[in-house]
């Protein structure tokens, strides 16, 4: 079954639009209406219902000065621009006079300053294009002795340097899209002359898809784990039949295609995607390849879970999801056997399935050509995910051999609570928006809102880092305190579930009490706001000796819980760095 073409889908939606999930202001230095159906259809495909408002063409400067006047009060703004539209005369001058370049670069810097001004006044998603290589007679790298390429490079670099200074800017790389698509296939001279609209329909589709990916990535979660078949998926041939020397993997095609595919898998792993294996094989045969084949890029340690046996892959995938504590909708399954793909698609419809292409030359880019792993920022915690899973497995092995108390002591847990600085905000925003279970109030906030709170004198945003002798959990807890007279209200309190039950809760509350004192408060007040998923923290406050007073739970800072003796705790607040060594039995 094929999806309806984008224009039909968009037109049908426009006849009966729903309540918009997202409003998007569009502006360009040229006519951009052909973008609407392509961007609209892409977002509809991601279950987002958009509503567009388009600024008249050539109104970019006006938009920067007063965006509400130009496109209304929207959630997102998209700006596309070209040097040959914005600065036509100064660009043309650079072809004739060597000293004309600085004037062009000045204008570009001024335009960049307008974009920063817009950023300061507009808190939503801001997407701005790079300038594409100009489409202008005479402006050609083919014209002999033309300075076109130097002029373009200087202009593009100036723009990039200025944009790097703008906060939370999403860049639409129009130049990269133009290269990918091919400038000749992207431009339509007729439409430019008739309508001030430079591009072909297929290029508009490419632009619409790319903008859609940026917008959708802000609203949806990327896939977390790839479950891989082995034979004819990460190497060529069947290990059980062809043996270690007979499988295809290495420098020469087809082995090269499999090796390059493995390299891209490693790239995804470095961005935080976990890799797992589901293969119908004898485990000894399969592990021999991991352990002994010279050309294997993937190592055993890169894989978070192996399901190698002759049972159903549906069950294998379910077990991997359970082990990693992730949803089936966060899994991508790759296999060369259409029957396996079909069975998984039928029985686990939320798993994304990809079939190894018939043309093996296309295998290395199989995953790169999808939007399944789109993510706008990669945090340190993402990068370390596979190592953390391995550390977890080590911990569980040790836990089985020791008593609970000895196990806790053996971990050598370190808990560091600190006032959030700029570099922590991305991760804290991620936690605030995705933590469901250990989350007392489940208040979701944008990074902008959290940054404002962290700058306020009457609030404090705290992060918690945890590590133990097996590894670093990273930033796994966050809290927001708001000063309310002599009481500090716990606006937000959340933690990753992987660190519970080892004294982290008591320690965090003890440090919150110390932070409250630094705000000039003598008590903490917490609230539990029930949701469908946070039942586990229903009794957290009474359990930690907070007293119910009808308006939440109150605890005098002097009555704060003691930090358990097995924990090496520290607290870093901006004005007064206090090393908290106030431990049980030592106070």
């Amino acid at each position: 079954m094929t999806a309806p073409d984008p224009k039909t889908a968009w037109r049908q939606y426009q006849k009966q639009p729903g309540a918009a999930d997202i409003t998007i202001g569009l502006a360009a230095s040229f006519t951009l209406e052909p973008l609407e159906p392509f961007l609209g259809a892409y977002l509809l495909g991601k279950n987002l219902e958009p509503e567009f408002s388009v600024a008249p063409f050539g109104q970019l400067q006006q938009l920067c000065i007063n965006h509400k006047h130009a496109v209304g009060d929207t959630n997102a703004i998209v700006m596309l621009w070209r040097i040959e539209d914005m600065f036509a005369a100064k660009l043309a001058a650079t072809l004739d006079a060597a000293d004309a370049l600085p004037a062009l670069l000045d204008d570009i810097r001024q335009f960049a300053a307008s974009v920063s001004q817009l950023r300061r006044n507009f808190s939503g998603t801001l997407i701005v294009s790079t300038p594409p290589f100009p489409s202008l007679p005479g402006f050609s790298a083919f014209e002999l002795a033309s300075p076109a390429m130097q002029v373009y490079t200087a202009a593009a670099q100036t723009w990039a340097q200025e944009m790097a200074k703008v906060d939370r800017l999403r860049v639409l790389d129009l130049q990269a899209l133009l290269i990918e698509h091919g400038a000749r296939h992207a431009h339509d001279a007729r439409k430019w002359q008739l309508y001030r609209q430079p591009y072909t329909e297929t290029f508009w589709q490419a632009i619409g898809t790319q903008i859609g990916r940026i917008i959708a990535a802000e609203k949806t979660s990327p896939k977390k784990c790839i479950v891989l078949d082995l034979d004819n998926t990460i190497w060529g041939g069947v290990i059980g039949e062809d043996g270690l020397g007979g499988i295809a993997l290495g420098d020469e095609f087809p082995g090269r295609a499999f090796r390059d595919f493995q390299r891209y898998l490693m790239h995804l792993k470095s961005k935080g995607v976990m890799l797992a294996v589901a293969s119908k094989n004898n485990p000894a045969d399969a592990f021999e390849v991991f352990d002994k084949h010279d050309a294997m890029v993937l190592n055993r340690r890169d894989i978070v879970g192996f399901e190698i046996h002759w049972e159903s892959k549906v069950d294998s995938i379910k077990r991997i999801a359970a082990k990693l504590n992730i949803g089936l909708d966060a899994i991508v399954f790759v296999d060369d056997n259409p029957k396996e793909i079909g069975e998984v698609q039928e029985r686990l419809p939320t798993v994304s399935c990809l079939l190894v292409p018939e043309e093996l030359a296309d295998l290395p880019a199989l995953l790169a050509n999808t939007d399944l792993f789109d993510t706008l920022q990669v945090t340190d915690e993402d990068r370390k995910r596979t190592d953390m899973m391995a550390a977890d497995q080590q911990r569980s092995q040790i836990q089985e051999t020791l008593s609970e108390e000895d196990f806790r002591k053996s971990l050598q847990l370190k808990i560091d609570v600190f006032t959030a600085e700029k570099q922590h905000l991305a991760r804290i925003t991620q936690l605030v928006n995705k933590t469901n279970q250990f989350n007392l109030t489940t208040i979701r906030r944008t990074q902008d809102e959290i940054e404002k709170l962290s700058a306020s004198p009457d609030a404090v945003v705290l992060g918690m880092n945890i590590s133990d002798k097996y590894g670093d959990y990273g930033l796994v807890g966050a809290a927001i305190l708001k000063k309310n007279g002599a009481t500090a209200d716990i606006d937000t309190l959340l933690m990753s579930c992987r660190v519970l039950g080892r004294g982290a809760e008591e320690t965090f509350i003890a440090q919150l009490a110390a932070a409250a004192v630094s705000l000039g408060c003598t008590a903490l007040r917490g609230k539990y706001v029930p949701t469908a998923k946070n039942e586990m923290v229903k009794d957290l406050y009474p359990h930690l000796k907070f007293a119910g007073d009808g308006d939440g739970w109150l605890l005098k800072t002097a009555d704060a819980p003691k930090i358990p003796a097995h924990i090496d705790a520290s607290l870093r607040l901006p004005e007064s760095p206090i090393m908290n060594k106030n431990k049980e039995g030592q106070s």
Binding site: R11, T31, E33, P34, R190, Q193, L194, Y195
Partner: protein
């Protein structure tokens, strides 16, 4: 049988096919503005797998004239 060209214009202009005939033009159809003209060209080129020259596009100032222009290019409309 419904007229393919009328249906295409109705779809892009978002009006009922019954409201259009070969005499319809930007002067008689409110929705037929310059943006709509641009969308019409894209829709015609998509539908009939042809490419129009600027001269041909300029000639299409009514549905009837669009029909004639397309017929001159051997498109059956």
């Amino acid at each position: 049988m419904a007229d393919t060209l009328i249906e295409l214009f109705a779809d892009v202009l978002q009006v009922e096919p019954a409201a259009l005939n070969d005499n319809s033009s930007p002067d008689s159809v409110r929705q037929w503005d310059s943006l709509a003209a641009m969308h019409l060209v894209a829709a015609i080129e998509d539908k009939f797998k042809i490419q129009l020259s600027t001269k041909e596009i300029m000639k299409m100032s009514s549905i009837g004239l669009a029909r004639k222009t397309l017929q001159d290019k051997n498109v059956k409309v």
